[in-house]
């Protein structure tokens, strides 16, 4: 039977999760959680009223006394304890309580909130991987795998059987035939693997605000896809007029001043797929973010590479056009022209942080 405190704890957890769910849209669009991401848990600040508690005064500020005292004698006023000029507040308390939610749970909340369907892995949906499990014992093996407990037990049995065991002098020296070693069996496990390739325009026209939008959206996409696949391999590509593969930190913090040639990023993405992710075995997701201010003559090359080398191999190719200070770029118009030919091409315009919510739904709502 569950203890009362366990029931209370469960109830408390339900309330906290309810609060998180209520405000999920706010958390999604303002990126509060990203900096708080630990290994598997995310700390989320939720509004809370502090429970009253005792506070001790300063040492030496007065002792315990007894007696009647005189009328008007102040009791327990410390230094600097004069009346202030401030007025009472009329707002609820703003204390913050941080709760830890697992990424898995967060993904589930996100799915419920955005009504995301579960992802259906593509055709040859599984690849096999071999895993070793130490679950048996052998008479031979390397010394590093010697099972001491079993070895000594076996030696003890041998001594008792041979009537050589003396309880008054319990010395057990294992002999060669007593030695037992841990051993393993190799199991073939099916795995569904996914690769995410992020492509971001870091040309001079992409501001820090736009990159923040990309960062927030990428976090949520990651969270969702991690919940759907066993292994996620993430690659980052940045480009201005030239493109290169970079690490996560560089991806989010680089700002270049070059022109915008989206085709350069597509070429690098094509190389990465060919080199690391055979399309037959991998579920490949490409998420591209740009302000769409591509240099005019480059659009044709982009569409050619996209149609020939990227779209046929990707579960999803998502293009998010973040709005630059100069308005929306024209690249999305080029993509709209081929949108009907490719079911896995998803386009989304992200005007500001508020639009991230709908953009995630656009990208992941297909269950691909």
């Amino acid at each position: 039977m569950a203890r009362a405190i366990d029931c209370d704890l469960q109830r408390f957890k339900q309330i906290v999760r309810g609060k998180v769910r209520e405000n999920l849209k706010k958390y999604i669009t303002h990126g509060e959680m990203i900096g708080r991401k630990g290994r598997d848990l995310v700390s989320i600040p939720i509004p809370n009223i502090e429970i009253p508690h005792f506070r001790h005064g300063q040492r030496g500020s007065g002792g315990v006394a007894q007696g009647d005292g005189d009328i008007g004698t102040p009791i327990g006023r410390g230094q600097g304890d004069d009346d202030g000029a401030g007025e009472a507040g009329d707002q609820p308390g703003g204390h913050i309580r941080e709760v830890e939610v697992s990424l898995e749970e967060l993904a589930a909340m996100l799915a419920a909130e955005l009504e995301l369907p579960r992802i259906e892995p593509k055709g040859k949906d599984t690849i096999s991987s071999k895993k070793d499990k130490y679950n048996s014992i052998r008479r031979t093996g390397p010394e590093s795998l010697k099972h001491l407990k079993r070895t000594y037990k076996r030696a003890l049995k041998r001594l008792i059987a041979a009537d050589q065991y003396d309880p008054a002098n319990p010395i057990i020296i294992p002999e060669r035939e007593d030695r037992l070693y841990r051993s393993w069996t190799t199991k073939t496990q099916p795995e569904t693997n996914a690769a995410i390739i992020y492509l971001m325009d870091v040309s001079g026209s992409m501001t820090d605000d736009q990159k923040e939008i990309v960062r927030i959206e990428a976090f949520w996409i990651d969270t969702w896809l991690q919940s759907q696949y066993d292994g996620i391999d993430v690659r980052y590509i940045i480009h201005d007029a030239m493109a290169k593969e970079v690490d996560e930190d560089t991806f989010y913090h680089t700002r270049e001043s070059g022109g915008t040639r989206i085709s350069s990023a597509y070429k690098v993405a094509r190389e990465v797929i060919a080199r690391d992710f055979p399309p037959a075995d991998w579920n490949i997701y490409c998420f591209q973010f740009s302000d769409g201010d591509n240099w005019g003559e480059d659009n044709k090359a982009c569409i050619e590479i996209l149609a020939a080398d990227l779209l046929p191999h990707c579960n999803l190719f998502c293009y998010g056009q973040v709005e630059s200070p100069y308005g929306s770029g024209e690249y999305i118009r080029e993509l709209h022209r081929i949108e009907d030919d490719w079911e896995n091409l998803i386009l989304s315009e992200i005007e500001n942080k508020e639009a991230i919510y709908d953009s995630i739904k656009d990208f992941l709502g297909k269950g691909k």
């Binding site: 040309s203 001043s257 070059g258 022109g259 040639r261 100069y326 999305i332």
Partner: protein, 170 residues
Amino acid sequence: MFFHDQVAQSLNALHGLMAPDTKTVAWQAADNVSVEVDFTAVESVGCAFRELRVIAGALEATSFATLQGWADELCRRVTYLLEQIGPLEADREAQTVLVRSSPPAKDAARTSFYEMLVHSPGVVSLRRYLCVAHDPARQAIDMQATHEVFLRLVRDLVEAVPHEQTLSPL
């Protein structure tokens, strides 16, 4: 006749122009520099034009560093338009420097800005664009200026043309 007077005289001659498309007028300045303007309207106080180009024949094979220096000089001189302009992107491969209003002019649903491309072979083009919210297609719009501002703009664009001898390394 000085170049400035030549342009002023052309403006007077074009008085009353209302071109349904554009009317291109070209002038030749010193040092093989020419100026072309696509006018849409000219009247007594001011004029409207769609694009202004400066072609420096002597800079056909100029270096990318010279183009960047040229763009910087233009930003330093041209400070009297509706918005300040500044270099935004520099594409070495395309030998082009992109200069735009910084920041652009915005109202509720419209964004407008100047865009100046400084590119090889020694050409500067100035346009103004309008972007309407939710419409990815930007459109070139007319720039309007009084005759005085227009003359100053043309003079500054011509005077900003770099002289290879002074900019190239010794």
